[in-house]
């Protein structure tokens, strides 16, 4: 197998640490821009995924969002407390269905513009070509554990 050199810009040789750090940086960047909305980027994402469906079961939502089911279970709490989403039990009495409230829809309108700002700023920061490579890489990496 070929030998890999470690003389890259990043000071850590560990690819895992490097992506974790980059992820933190990008997250902090988005959070700062989203701050006036009162939503975290994860919360914005959750609401956004509810926008186009009437209601959706916990498991289905977790699958769509590609996050752990139990993580979703914790993440919906603050949004419920803020009155942005509602949870009802569906026909199948095992499942619970999540849906946006009117307040949730309103919050999304506000946050959407802010998210767009962050998104555009990042796109300008990377540039079209790097952005393309970036997204392809992320997609490939996400498939690593499947």
């Amino acid at each position: 197998m070929k030998h890999i050199r470690y003389d890259l810009k990043s000071s850590s040789p560990c690819h895992c640490l490097n992506i974790r750090r980059a992820s933190r940086a990008v997250t902090q960047f988005y959070e700062k821009v989203l701050e006036p909305s009162g939503l975290k980027v994860t919360q914005y994402s959750l609401l956004r995924n509810l926008e186009r469906v009437e209601s959706v079961s916990m498991s289905a939502l977790a699958k769509t969002m590609r996050i752990d089911r139990t993580t979703l279970n914790r993440n919906i709490k603050p949004l419920m407390n803020a009155g942005l989403i509602m949870v009802n039990s569906g026909e199948d009495s095992r499942s619970r269905h999540v849906m946006l409230t009117d307040a949730g829809k309103a919050a999304l309108v506000n946050a959407w513009a802010l998210w767009g700002e962050a998104q555009t700023l990042l796109e300008e920061y990377l540039g079209v070509e790097e952005l393309d490579v970036f997204e392809k890489l992320l997609s490939k990496l996400e498939a690593l554990t499947r």
Copy 2:
């Protein structure tokens, strides 16, 4: 400004979510390989950063590792409880200095081999060229918030 198309592989348009997802996938991959060592990748990283210094203050360590100082403060707890590191107060009585214990050094030997496996597997998964692009991108992104 140029219009960016969203017809990439990744199903989410949000770059922040995408890197967070990729980060989770890579993390889970490394964690699984590191599992026999009893160390998380973050913990391995922390120990690793202590390997080449006698002892180091909390702030200096946080800076080197490029993690939040208060995050480091929480992250050292499990390693202290496991007896892998020690914390003493330095000359300056404001500061606390962290150092590896013998158990910590021993744990590192074991974990190092496992980390190497994960690292190699990821490198093979991406290939040399993509890996290079990957690391350059991460480095650039990390600089986003500075």
